[in-house]
């Protein structure tokens, strides 16, 4: 960010940055055992960068936790390991042992895949390490039910979310008090929009997964989505042959569940340009929100999905 110059009013990105850093520091000061959920996406990238800023010159005093499904894009695993090293933080990778044992995968198990690897996996990981506060990269602009989410979101000992029983948040005073067994999910970038995230990555040169940029990649078209054949676990249906297309991704998740868009945007400004001109909202690329009608995300949250 700009240095030194005397100025009167902070830009919106400077205010957002300051607010997020403030939130991250409050959690570290008041929680006993915080962790940062790191999903390797662009929002995680920004959140990690903010954490590094908050505690510089020290590394952030908490570990990164990746609740892995084993079905992420290969490029995501590469960046994940690189960023853990760069930030000087411990990286914890958690796999739900039951999902692993039963061979749960997105091709054969549909919604169960997300439920077991992600929802259950997250609960198990938090319980295993006894984390009482977990940072997540969710934003209020992503989806309707998120617009009402608090920055500090309380979860019962069984990780349930009760939208009717959330604490009021006034000024920048956050109440991190909780009973034994309860935990908090904290969303430091709640007030950022997708455009803010992109712009911040651009201004701060934050490393992101190359899949966000267009490149020729092997793809198949299936159920109205453009899927990338990232490894040989991708079971091709009859008549399907991977076709090379110039594609990129607007969001990153499990590769068999994440739809690509055809694109020629190879630089960040081009990606931002395309994002602004496009007319399909961000989470549309993911299958998860469409379950249970329009209220999909809300139901998932009550069950403990982040």
């Amino acid at each position: 960010m700009s240095q030194g110059l005397a100025r009167s009013t902070l830009t919106h990105l400077e205010r957002l940055e300051a607010e997020s850093i403030h939130i991250i520091r409050e959690v570290v000061a008041e929680a006993e055992n915080p962790v940062m959920l790191y999903s390797v996406g662009k929002d995680s990238a920004v959140m990690l960068h903010l954490a590094r800023k908050a505690f510089y010159p020290a590394p952030p005093p908490f570990p990164l936790l990746h609740v892995d499904t084993t079905w992420k894009f290969r490029a995501m695993y590469e960046l994940r390991d690189k960023m853990a090293e760069l930030s000087g933080m411990d990286l914890l990778v958690y796999h739900n042992p039951e999902a692993q044992e039963r061979g749960i995968n997105p091709f054969d198990h549909g919604a169960l895949h997300t439920d077991m690897w992600k929802t259950e996996g997250l609960k198990q990981a938090l319980d295993k390490y006894g984390f009482d506060a977990a940072f997540g990269g969710a934003r209020r602009d992503e989806e309707k039910s998120r617009a009402k989410e608090r920055i500090f979101s309380f979860r019962t000992a069984s990780h349930g979310w009760d939208p009717k029983n959330q604490r009021p948040e006034l000024w920048n005073l956050y109440n991190a008090k909780k009973a034994k067994g309860e935990s908090i999910r904290v969303f430091p970038i709640s007030n950022w929009t997708e455009l803010d995230v992109w712009q911040y990555i651009h201004l701060n040169d934050i490393p992101i997964v190359p899949l966000y940029f267009a490149e020729e990649r092997p793809t198949v078209e299936r159920d109205g989505m453009l899927l990338m054949v990232d490894d040989d676990r991708f079971p091709l249906r009859e008549g399907e042959t991977p076709v090379m297309r110039s594609i990129r991704f607007r969001t990153l998740g499990c590769y068999p569940l994440t739809g690509a868009v055809e694109s020629s945007a190879k630089t960040l400004p081009e990606v931002i340009q395309e994002t602004l001109l496009t007319t399909t909202s961000e989470r549309q690329g993911r299958a998860i929100d469409k379950d249970a009608g329009g209220a999909g995300m809300e139901v998932k949250k009550q069950q403990g999905y982040f």
Binding site: Q3, G4, A6, T9, L10, H12, L13, E14, R15, L16, A18, E19, I21, H22, R25, E26, V28, A29, K53, F55, Y56, P57, A58, P59, R140, K144, S145, A147, K148, P163, R167, P168, E169, L170, W171, N172, L173, N175, K177, A179, S190, N191, T193, L195, Q199, L203, P269, E270, I272, Q273, L276, L277, T278, T279, T280, S281, Q284, G294, A295, E298
Partner: protein
Amino acid sequence: MTDPVYVVDSLIAEDIDAYLDTHQHKTMLRFITCGSVDDGKSTLIGRLLYDSKMIFEDQLAALEADSKKVGTQGQGIDFALLVDGLAAEREQGITIDVAYRFFNTEKRKFIVADTPGHEQYTRNMVTGASTADLAVILIDARKGVLTQTRRHSFLAHLIGIRNIVLAVNKMDLVDYSQTRFDEIVADYRAFASSIGIEDFVALPISGYMGDNITTLSDNTPWYAAPAYFGRSLVDHLETVEVDTTRDLAKPFRMAVQWVNRPNLDFRGFAGLIASGSVKPGDAIRVLPSGKTSTVERIVTLDGDLDQAVAGQSVTLTFADEIDCSRGDVIALADNPPQVADQFEASVVWMADHALIPGRAYWLKIGTQMVSATVQAPKYTINVNTMEHCAAKTLELNAIGVAEITTDRPITFEPYAENRALGGFILIDKIGNGTVAAGMLHFSLRRAQNVHWQALDVTREARAEIKNQRPGVLWFTGLSGSGKSTIANLVEKKLHALGKHTFLLDGDNVRHGLNKDLGFTEADRIENIRRVGEVSRLMTDAGLIVLTAFISPFRAERDLARSLTPEGEFFEVFIDTPLDVAEGRDVKGLYKKARSGALKNFTGIDSPYEAPENPEIRIDTTKISPQDAAEMIVAKLLGDYWMPEI
């Protein structure tokens, strides 16, 4: 769209770098919209999102489908459906919580807090308003100034919002009548000045039709005349001064969030600058200690800064090694904030369980967390009539003015001068919920003038001459559990051992010191508070104090504990099940309580909160009072006195 405010699309397509440069330099405005259920609040926000192209095609398709299904606008688009969030609310057609929305224009990014207009949700509006620079008060042009309008304006003013926008909505339904508009504005002006709102701007709009939202409407040509504000809503939102700009002109203050010590050579103090600016070389003072130093560096990941301003999160280092930790406030050396422990404050109660005057709550202000008690309010304010009313407590959504005492001095500024150092929340010590929001008015003089008398004979000296360590044995348990019996036996044994003791018994104290107190929840709390204070004085005198009180509430026992030095408080839980105690009924009280002749009796119609981690627990169904006393003394000798004997 030909609207100039939103002519950004062409720039995005033609020169993305230029567009990004513009976006990078945008400022941010946070505002709230307040209105009654049918004032068209959600429609206005939906309109702002729609006009600024914050709605994507897939969302629009869903919106059009929803509009036909559950919309209230016939075949038209029901913008309100865009912003009503949670499933239950969507079905009920009302917003019941605070939701945050985002949109951009060429000059600014906006965060809108959408707050409900329902009477029972004062707390939501106060929450939404606490982070807002501006409030849009919506009025239905057909209905004029309503009770709700007054309430919303009062709350916005209470929370310190300086920029008030009166948006007279649904002008299309009154034929864009200038007369009607003038009438409403005159009404509002009379009310506004009566509650201290000095200034506001008034706009005739239609959220549904889009009049005077982004551009001036042809339907209200009269509005362009000099007598009127004459600008569109978005135009105003884009140019009005934001609070962080104002904060910059104030003296430097930063609450320390975190002391950063990666190694022995670096000690940085991290925080969000609340007001003013800071440069290396500036003389600073740390509150409440009053120690001074100078700023050496402003450290960030992107390199050191020459200057940092209000609203930025930074890390400072000092030239000298002075004590400074979380909760301290770093301020301009020759213009520091005040330090005090008694205040007058406005308090907005936000919990279902009413305020209990005298009970200790956590008070968080800036990064300071202290224990605090709130007195019975001087008065509460009826938000519909603005009348001051007498009240003994604060119920959910009540707003009152009360005195607050903190257990140690805090650094503060009046809320009107500095939101960050004058706004606080109260947290329930047992349930951990945020139960109230408050705004400090001023410190009460006596806090500053009563100093502790420094005594030459110390508590240590008094204990030493008695050849003992002082302490409090706090017996708690149901009526008839055996507290007094066992405490009496323990005192006899300690006395025999040559210890100087004193037994404070519940019934006895109520005959003297506490004879003015009854058995309501508030009185029981005051009863225990006094006993806690007396016990503290007695331990200062070097005595071993035994107290035998039901003391049913965890919060009060914790308060008593907090009064004595660490390690000198022993909670002795006389654990007798209700049926056993009731079976004994030595004083015949349970019988009275069961018959209804005795109210608020613990265990019957008043709760007993059992200790979670008592130092000593006695199960009276298993051991005799003699053995219990033996066990308590043995434990004390072993754990407490033995190391010294």
